[in-house]
């Protein structure tokens, strides 16, 4: 009796995990293509256009190139840790997809399934935990390379991640205060319905400062420009991946794109209504197509944020190291604390807590 319920559920979860994996990897692969096309657009070039129509097969060609290249492991480095570095980076990048609510519950053949791999009651903290583990990939890889540039890159990565995690954590606490829950599914659920209480329902419109802090910290955590000092090529050759070649380098770079996708998805879930599409429920009520369209809307919003990441990368120059630290410790952390206190006082005055 129990097994009859359990086995289809497990099979469904398995399929969902595979789909989430495929979407994460697919979006990340095409982000590399999109990045080059966006940079081409910004710099008035054409970008990759040789492989397939509009160069659409470029990610495939890049992947084959990465796999075919010679694999070099430095003689003096620790072989196990050298391989462990990119493995950890990739693993933590993929782990975060588990708690993201991709859409409302879907009805297939009379059965209701959630479009989320797992709804843990501490989903927000799970995300923070996985992000904080992610830095080990860079640190271990950089140290095991036995190269001064790689080590400096690893040190920069770790200090940057630690510094920005504080501000990010406080902005997440503000969000938890605002929503009263730590479950990502509930946060998304609360933002359904575009207009609530004669004000826009998305968390962004309730507290834009929190989003701003979170967004800046997300840029820093994913090592994107203007915070890409760990791999700053003008100063550190290649930063933490100086010694890496072939697919191990590919995994490091790929993990960055997956992180970008996941952090965009997290920002959409936290601040931009998750899978909520304004006024969609007035036109579509079918229990199969409504969740499907909502998921498409979710992916659309996510892709918009990926575009914002790229937009920033190709327009904003890199920070100097002391500017980075000053921004983190002297601006973002005090700002996030003030924001937290102001939100608490505001909610107290309006009688929400």
């Amino acid at each position: 009796m129990l097994l009859a319920v359990l086995i289809p559920m497990l099979a469904y979860k398995g399929i969902l995990v595979v789909i989430v994996f495929a979407i994460s990897l697919g979006v990340a692969a095409y982000s590399t293509y999109a990045e080059r096309k966006v940079s081409a657009l910004m710099q008035d070039r054409v970008g990759p256009d040789r492989a397939g129509p509009f160069g659409l097969l470029q990610p495939l060609a890049d992947g084959v190139k990465m796999f075919m290249k010679e694999e070099i492991i430095p003689n003096v480095s620790n072989k196990f840790l050298f391989i462990l570095g990119p493995a950890i980076s990739m693993m933590t990048a993929l782990l975060t997809g588990a708690v993201i609510p991709w859409g409302p519950d879907i009805t297939i053949g009379g059965n209701v399934y959630p479009l989320q791999v797992t709804d843990v009651n501490i989903g927000v903290l799970y995300l923070l935990g996985v992000v904080s583990i992610g830095v080990y990939g860079v640190m271990i890889g950089g140290w095991a390379s036995n190269n001064k540039f790689a080590l400096l890159g690893a040190l920069r990565a770790s200090s940057q991640m630690i510094s920005y995690e504080v501000a990010m954590g406080i902005s997440v606490i503000t969000l938890i205060l605002l929503t009263g829950t730590m479950s990502t599914a509930e946060i998304a659920e609360q933002q359904q319905g575009f207009v609530q209480d004669s004000w826009l329902g998305w968390n962004f419109f309730k507290n834009p400062v929190t989003f701003l802090i979170f967004f800046i910290c997300a840029l820093a955590e994913t090592n994107r420009t203007p915070f890409d000092l760990p791999e700053c090529e003008t100063e550190l050759v290649g930063g933490y991946h100086t010694e890496y070649s072939s697919m191990k380098l590919g995994l490091f770079l790929f993990a960055e794109y997956i992180n970008m996708f996941i952090s965009s998805a997290v920002m959409v879930t936290f601040f931009f209504g998750g899978y909520s599409a304004p006024f969609l429920n007035r036109f579509v009520t079918d229990p199969f197509w409504f969740p499907m369209l909502s998921t498409l809307v979710f992916l659309g919003k996510t892709i918009f944020f990926i575009f914002v990441f790229m937009w920033i990368r190709w327009t904003v120059p890199r920070f100097r190291y002391d500017q980075l630290m000053n921004l983190g410790w002297k601006i973002l952390i005090p700002l996030s604390i003030i924001n937290l206190v102001a939100t608490a006082v505001g909610m107290w005055l309006t009688g929400k807590i």
Partner: protein
């Protein structure tokens, strides 16, 4: 054996072995890495005790922040044999004595503990969940909780004091 028991045995072995490797590793970087593995094993134990909040906070604070700083420092120090500070005999004896005293305290504390699992109420079983833990911390243990935060603040101010360059 039930699944819980198998998990308990595996996690315990992992915790004990990685703890031993932490001590016996020659290279400090490996010690730090083994300590991270030990933290993960302990987080697994928290989850077995139905304390997911504690487990995740343990990972975020210890594995995610403190050990990163540990590794950061270990990367920076010179690990050559020649620069290894000479440890005099009295330091070693003091270390053994203080370690032994710690052991004695732990044994004394755990001697009376019963090995029979006790029937706990549903409230006691769910104490590790975030909302229950928050209620207990802010109702029953408010004063110790606030005092410990003041203690941490004092430690932080002290660290900043020590880290600041002297201005004459």
């Amino acid at each position: 054996m039930t699944v819980t028991q198998i998990l308990f045995v595996v996690l315990s072995l992992m915790a004990v072995l990685s703890g031993l490797f932490t001590i016996f590793s020659k290279n400090p970087v490996f010690s730090a890495l083994w300590l991270i593995v030990a933290f993960f094993a302990i987080a697994g134990h928290y989850i077995l005790l139905n304390a997911q909040f504690l487990a995740v906070v343990h990972i975020i604070v210890y594995a995610g922040a403190i050990m990163v700083l540990f590794l950061y420092v270990v990367f920076m120090i010179n690990l050559n044999k020649e620069t290894e500070p000479n440890k005099p005999a009295w330091v070693r004896i003091a270390a053994v004595i203080s370690g032994g005293m710690m052991m004695l305290t732990l044994v004394a504390a755990l001697k009376g503990a019963s090995l029979v699992p006790q029937n706990k109420s549903a409230e006691a079983l769910n104490i590790g969940l975030a909302s229950n833990l928050g209620k207990v911390l802010f109702n029953d243990f408010l004063v110790p909780f606030e005092l410990s935060s003041v203690l941490l603040l004092a430690a932080m101010v002290g660290a900043v004091m020590l880290g600041k360059r002297q201005i004459h």
